[in-house]
Amino acid sequence: MVDLYIRTRCKRIDYSFLLKQPPATYSNEYKNKSDIEKPTCILEPTEENGVYMFLSGIPSQRKDHQGTPIRYELVATSDTWDSMDGSDQKKYLKGLTGLISMWLKDVRGALQKIQEDGSDWELVRLPNVANSKLGELLDETLTEQYVEELLQLTVDSNQSKNDENNLNQKLKDFLLKGNFLQEYSKYDSSSQTENPLNLWWGGVNNNLSCDQWIKFVKKLLLGETKGKALLLNIATPQSLSSFSVNNQGLGVLLAKEWSQSDTKQIEPQGLVGYIQQGIIRHNNRVPSGLQFPDWSKKKH
């Protein structure tokens, strides 16, 4: 089962999940690596072998009582593939893949605009998405009046089962929107290049990195592989080494990496990292073309 949770605010009521809180949150290892008030994506396995997704930095056209733009955050949780029942679930997960892909386009669009503007101080700014297709679609589903009502019910703890069911149905219908399934279909082909690296990072500016990342997201959501897909907005390539330990598969897009170069291996942390990564690669039978890092070249 796929469950979607939305966090937003209205004119006067502060940020809160609409009617219900997600049962879990993301792990603490991304602390210091992303500011969730700016675009961030965390897609990771849950302890129950399901998937947890967190997506932030989605702008709404609504404004708060101070005139400040409001944003959305989305959390999705899905059961383990073993316990899923049939093609409906698969359809929701395809919709979720399309949604993430659309979100990534919004984020990239905002970054490209910053680059085109050429303002020095904009270049050091964390991505701030002003216009977003995903935001528009959310605004259509969650109208201003409906959000006001839901948040009032939430803060008053006055929601009925009926209110929850209505919201659930709206969100499920939202996931099955043609826009998302159409977006998904672009990645529904096995002919596209997959990233041969197990643990890799790429800049959000680079087309190939983004294509490979979405492809990886799709495989994670559809239960075809294991690992984590992240888009982080503070982390630098150098600060990712801690991720090299205990991760079987990892694809990270870095919002502050402006280079156009293709994906790169995440360098492991210390000797233990090298050994662990070697064991993981061996067990997973990673393509033989991969080279183990040359220790002699490692800087000390």
Binding site: R12, D14, Y15, H65, G67, V124, S239
Partner: protein
């Protein structure tokens, strides 16, 4: 990202966390205060070897630096040549601003003692309605604990919401938007926490968006007295709550139990030695520090508007003062007074807390320059806008 509160749990060798709590509603401008404070502190410490800056972790990441930089850039993005549009994002999760005061440069920078000002921010809406679910409740519990352990509490206040009140209805809306009742409850909990710990406490009432009401930073109108009186009026219950909880009461003469057994007598004698009285009794102060976090703007229009639920909110329009053909410069004012008061409080804590005394003595021995900087800042003459609302010794525990 979710905060690991444990990272700030203890003071260990070479680093001391000085906890500060923020208690204010959402969208009041909490991050702007921190950004302005850091900016003015850097100016105040210019020319000295001491610096105060966002803490950077071993991976080279600094969420504090990014958030402060973004706040400044968001403000700049909202400022065009003639007007200002409120920008910013609002807080959806707790965040700790981690500022480090240290000696700049030197080969042994990593081994130097650090004073870390750690300021907890969280969604203002939690004051009225704490987050639901196990995770939310746990997080809110940790935030409350942090506040109770903080020596200094900053209460940011939107000055426009105070000054633009024009009838009973808008006064009610202002009190709700400022969440004064909820602020009072949390401040009371903090005061109780101070008494339990036997440590001094400082409550800072910090009106923000004050540009329109002072004539000392480029403005023409002086409504400063009106602002001060209105804030004392709006926050009278908050001030009373602190005084009720913290002001010293008549002390009962201590009963000395007649103990005849040797072990009991030994324990009592030892406890007298171990729990010797600190040099100065703990105290509390409530201070008033109006600040300009932007400085170059002025309120042009303020209209109370009703939302679809019939609730009032204040819609403000700002104009840039003396508009020209270039990007207006930020002209912050009053924020250094906050740092001076915090440093004064650090010295105060040292004088009245056994644990603080021990830590600080060690710390000051290790890094005389830092101690000098704190002393220097603590002894600065208060700014003209500053007012002391209340002060006294803290009541004895129990």
């Amino acid at each position: 990202m979710e905060i690991n509160f444990d990272n700030y749990a203890s003071n260990e060798a070479k680093k001391i966390f000085y906890k500060i709590g923020l208690i204010g509603p959402s969208r009041v401008g909490k991050t702007s205060i921190i950004a302005a404070l850091l900016d003015e502190a850097q100016v105040a410490l210019a020319g000295t070897p001491v610096s105060i800056k966002p803490f950077v972790d071993s991976d080279g990441n600094s969420p504090t630096k990014d958030r402060i930089r973004n706040t400044i850039l968001d403000i700049k993005a909202g400022l065009d040549f003639s007007s200002f549009q409120p920008t910013g994002m609002g807080t959806a999760d707790p965040f700790i601003f981690d500022l480090v005061m240290t000696i700049a440069g030197g080969n042994e920078e990593k081994n130097q003692a650090q004073l870390r000002f750690t300021i907890l921010d969280y969604p203002g809406g939690w004051l009225e309605k704490p987050p639901q679910g196990d995770i939310g409740q746990q997080t809110w519990g940790k935030c409350k604990k942090w506040i109770e352990e903080s020596s200094v509490i900053i209460v940011p206040i939107d000055a426009n919401l105070i000054m633009e009140v024009n009838n009973q209805e808008t006064r009610k809306a202002s009190l709700e938007l400022l969440e004064v009742e909820e602020v009072k409850d949390l401040v009371r909990d903090w005061a109780k926490g101070r008494i339990t710990m036997g440590e001094s406490g400082l409550l800072l009432l910090v009106p923000v968006k004050c540009e329109t009401y002072f004539n000392d930073n480029g403005g023409d109108n002086d409504k400063s007295e009106e602002l001060y009186k209105s804030i004392c009026n709006f926050y009278s219950d908050v001030i009373k709550a602190v005084e009720q909880e913290m002001s010293v009461k008549e002390e009962e003469p201590e009963e000395i139990p007649q103990s005849t057994d040797f072990i009991g007598k030994f324990k009592k004698d030892m406890s007298k030695v171990l729990i010797s009285k600190p040099s100065k009794p703990p105290s509390y102060s409530i201070e008033y520090h109006p600040v300009d976090t932007i400085g170059c703007i002025e309120l042009a229009n303020a209209n109370w508007e009703e939302n679809i639920n019939g609730q009032l909110s204040l819609n403000c329009e700002y104009l840039v003062r003396n508009p020209g053909n270039s990007q207006p410069e930020l002209k912050r004012f009053g924020n250094i007074g906050l740092l001076n008061s915090i440093c004064k409080q650090i010295v105060e804590n040292r004088q009245n807390s056994r644990i603080f005394t021990r830590l600080w003595d060690w710390f000051f021995d290790k890094n005389k320059l830092l101690a000098d900087a704190i002393n220097m800042l603590s002894q600065q003459k208060p700014e003209p806008r500053f007012k002391e609302i209340a002060k006294g010794n803290i009541a004895k525990k129990g």
